[in-house]
Symmetry: C2
Subunit: 262 residues, 2 copies
């Protein structure tokens, strides 16, 4: 399929059940988001958790009232019940299903949150001529649990999860400059160099995603990661929750460049 498909065309295929896989690399140039849908009883505290921890939880959209399954700012036609290729449904923190449509699970008390995702800044890095190793090697970015505490909000708390991309120092400096322009998709890295300094025991064994090659002249560079709020939700164990399946993101009409603050 043409990777230059528009976000609207891609959402229409997804809605029709004709696209059910990873969205990485499709509708290039447009923001893709992490989706988290919670009962209203948990929504206020989750919003507070995102507000307290903007680097791992950069909020780019939220439904306007409980039960609403639209976020017009991210796409006029957008229907949060059907426009993600694959959803995960949780009850009391346990995965109870992975489905291509959540219309039958929808409830009047659900509130949806869309968080920025690293696809946007990876595109900016690649457009600037930098290599993004997980893209080159065709795997998921390696992600690690750290010992960095997020700020707790009500029932939501978590250690920060980070993603890692190895770079030579000169490229890392450039990546810090580029990512600083994009606070809505995790912003500048939070650490580089020695993984032990942030509580990562074995860089070769990511807790999520896949390991990538780190060359002798490279340092690992770590970004706050959108898996962090997923961990917080797992720990909070709300009675009900819907998220996207890993890599199957919500594709929006928002150009990546619109997230740049400069």
């Amino acid at each position: 399929m043409d990777q230059h498909i528009t976000p609207l065309e891609l959402r229409q295929l997804i809605r029709a059940g004709e696209f059910t896989t990873n969205t990485s690399g499709y509708a290039r140039g447009f923001v893709q988001g992490n989706l988290c849908i919670l009962p209203a009883d948990y929504a206020g505290e989750f919003l507070q958790f995102c507000t307290f921890n903007p680097k791992p939880c950069p909020l780019i959209g939220m439904s306007s009232s409980p039960g609403d399954f639209t976020i017009p700012r991210l796409g006029l036609d957008l229907d949060l019940r059907s426009d993600v290729p694959s959803y995960r449904v949780f009850e009391h923190g346990e995965l109870v299903g992975e489905v291509p449509d959540v219309s039958e699970f929808w409830r009047d008390d659900l509130v949806a949150f869309v968080l920025g995702c690293s696809f946007s800044f990876e595109e900016a890095l690649i457009d600037d001529g930098l290599e993004v190793r997980n893209v080159t090697e065709g795997v998921n970015v390696p992600m690690y649990r750290t010992d960095i505490d997020c700020e707790t909000a009500g029932r939501f708390s978590s250690k920060m999860v980070v993603s890692m991309r190895p770079m030579i120092p000169g490229d890392a400096i450039r990546a810090i400059q580029i990512c600083s322009r994009f606070p809505a998709v995790h912003g500048a890295p939070v650490h580089f160099g020695d993984p032990k300094k942030i509580g990562i025991r074995d860089i070769k064994k990511p807790e999520f995603g896949d390991a990538v090659t780190i060359r002798a002249d490279e340092v690992p560079v770590f970004w706050a990661c959108g898996v962090t709020p997923q961990v917080a939700v797992e720990q909070a164990r709300p009675p009900f929750c819907i998220t996207h399946s890993p890599g199957c993101m919500l594709v929006t009409d928002l150009p990546n460049s619109h997230l740049a603050v400069l």
Copy 2:
């Protein structure tokens, strides 16, 4: 003496011969510059060298015609023959004198260049709450010759000289963001981590300035340094040249914040 003296007051003291030392920390908030004065025959190529190598040689002022000893943009009253606390005079690359006034050496063919200096970005780092080790330890910043080639312009060529400030990675990331706003004072660092990668053999033995403490959890962070053009001038061996003495800078009326591009 009050360190909050204005640039004009400080220049008046210097001009009167009543201030003859290091200008670091005086007239806080205002740009201090490196001074290099060359015969017109060399000025075109030196300007080209600065243009080709903006990180080590960020030009913030230049006299408008040979013989002119003013740069009104940097200070209406400014007199380049008397307003630096100490000058060095070179003939054919050899130091022939260190004097508080160069009026008697002035010639109709001299062209003056003022280059940005790290004092400006160190102030921005400190204002942001970062520690600048050479300031804390009250010594000159350590500087090293690297194996990074500057781009040659006529008779001017040099390896890049870098200054080094040790930081923990999180502070280094913040320093990269802050310094990126100040391209006119060397901008973002050029390297961090392993000194050997840029040809530095012994981090404990800087070629210029003083060694500083590097703690176990810190990495050395390297910035392009204004000593680079001095090395280029030494190698070009022009028949005549005047510079400021190390640390005795040209104090201008330009607020540091005016150098910020964002």
